[in-house]
Symmetry: C2
Subunit: 349 residues, 2 copies
């Protein structure tokens, strides 16, 4: 009676059409609960004959171990979380995939979440992942205050920040050399004779955007070029705004002869605008884009390695989990200037 009652228990929270449990398997195979557990987990100490009987019952019932219960008992979930900005962005896809590969090598699954560049949503996601008891967290910050993660980190959740540094807490960070990359890209334009160079980037509250702007300013300053306010445009990177910004720079009273784009989305829009222009405007963009080499002229870019960012961060995460007591570190990956033509155009007025 209790056995059947359990299955039809009115107040049972059970869903899933009453999946069979180890108890059911044990009953069917005529063995003890623990023996089933042994077989399921490949533990030694079970006769081949017993194992066969258990396996038969498992197959007949369609049993699959409930990892939720396992997690509860063991404490580790073998899963890690990744909070990024937008999985649909071609920059984050490869990054996520790289994290996944490292996780896989460590027998862990990956839970992704997109913050849509919203700090509240980032926090909500990160904490939801902690509630699921992910073993670790890779975060591409949208906000600039991560103290909300302090209790979690203290409680043992491994944490690594990527692409942008953590705010107000001490944690591992893996970054690209945004400052140096932008500086080199702009210097490249200067070396080809440009002085009036525009910069179109993302909102300055985003660390990468601020760093790249800083790189732009540094390159200009190194060359002794005073920067006009009308040459810089920072804000959301939707096509409309970027398009207007580019057009204003190109037609204003002091028109630029070259443009530096702060990220991949800005790049695609600016390239589009430039294609419509009659005069040739030099261009360098941050982030590589597909087919950049086939455009006329080829698009010169400062490339960062998204996969390497993800891989490095994930490896760092698992080193934390393996108990390598490491002090938080800031790892900076180099960028690479890829010249393809657009950055080598001479100034035309």
């Amino acid at each position: 009676m209790p056995e059947t009652a359990r299955r039809t228990d009115r107040h049972s929270g059970a869903r899933y059409g009453n999946r069979p449990t180890m108890k059911d398997v044990a009953a069917r195979a005529g063995v003890g609960l623990k023996t089933v557990s042994r077989v399921v987990n490949g533990e030694p100490g079970v006769t081949p004959e017993t194992e066969r009987r258990v396996q038969e019952a498992i197959d007949a019932l369609g049993f699959r171990r409930n990892d939720s219960a396992r997690v509860l008992r063991k404490g580790r979930t073998a899963s890690i979380g990744l909070v990024l900005e937008d999985l649909a962005d071609p920059f984050y896809g490869p990054l996520s995939r790289a994290v996944e590969e490292v996780a896989r090598a460590h027998g862990a699954l990956l839970i992704n979440g997109s913050s849509a560049e919203d700090p509240d949503r980032e926090q909500e996601l990160a904490l939801a992942l902690c509630a699921r008891r992910v073993d670790g967290l890779v975060v591409i910050p949208a906000g600039d205050d991560h103290r909300y993660l302090e209790p979690e980190i203290k409680a043992g959740v491994a944490t690594v920040f990527v692409d942008r540094p953590a705010g107000r807490i001490d944690a591992d960070v893996v970054l690209s050399d945004n400052f140096g990359g932008a500086r080199d890209g702009v210097a490249h334009l200067i070396a080809h004779g440009h002085r009036r160079i525009g910069f179109i980037g993302d909102m300055p509250r985003i660390h990468t955007a601020a760093e790249r702007l800083r790189g732009y300013r540094a390159a200009m300053e190194d060359a002794g070029i005073p920067v006009e306010d009308s040459w810089m445009s920072l804000g959301v990177t939707d096509p409309q705004r970027v398009r207007r910004a580019a057009e204003e720079m190109l037609t204003g009273p002091d028109p630029v002869t070259a443009i530096f784009a702060g990220n991949n989305r800005v790049t695609v829009t600016v390239v589009r605008v430039l294609a419509e222009q009659s005069r040739r405007v030099a261009f360098v963009g941050f982030d590589d884009i597909e087919l950049a080499d086939l455009l006329q002229p080829g698009v010169t870019v400062v490339a960062q390695d998204a996969a390497a960012l993800g891989r490095t961060a994930a490896e760092r995460l698992f080193r934390q989990l393996d108990g390598d007591l490491i002090t938080p570190e800031r790892i900076e990956l180099p960028t690479r200037l890829i010249t393809r033509g657009s950055g080598e155009l001479p100034p035309t007025d």
Copy 2:
């Protein structure tokens, strides 16, 4: 004594630096366990004063509810799984993001896994997700036999297949009109005077690849054009093979005047090869690619809506979960021919 013993229990599986539990919060707030549960879940029946005390204890201890235990008790995980081919592919990023958005709207998290086009890995991933007791599963099949999911589906795991149909089981499927799209694309080339048209696609065991090939054949047959074997090349879509295939078609004894590419990766490689040719070869590709409009000539494509695929599948999944007793259905989304120039080039011999 038992209280402290519990915390330092030598054989406790506890990791996570002994996170506080509701029991700890209850002790600190001087209330019962269930009262804490009520506060945490916003259930009614707690005086403001009691709630304040509990909340205080929660903050002080850095308590966060353990969702593993909650899942175990409640039966639902509020998470769904997505098995796809490669998150780094620009086609799957937006698809995954769309699924995530729908999941989010239903309060669920998304766990991604990449199968790398390997049927075994697909199965391994899907079953691992089932062991985690995801509520539902969206699968982009790599293999062609999904009977291994039967026990899971019977046990209540909602399941929807996307992009390619399920093999040997009856389940919901959301597809693009691969056949029609390819047929229209090839017909477009024929309408512009081409008769010798090459087809380069993925391995024919992949459903989409086979369907697109079928569309190619149908268009050719409709026009009364016999297809030469040397015009077709099917296999892995890595750049080397595709490049060789394209070059052979262009230089063979019976050279093609147009090429149809079976997916986005083939497209980028073929476009590259064509850019190196002196004569103009017409081209149409399956899947849209970024900046296709800016190439010279613009790349004509048969576009499918990856986000719509993901959204449709996820919505279907949650309808299953909401208990709408729906019989498995096959939903086909239309494709769209986007003409940009490359498909409208006349034949040149």
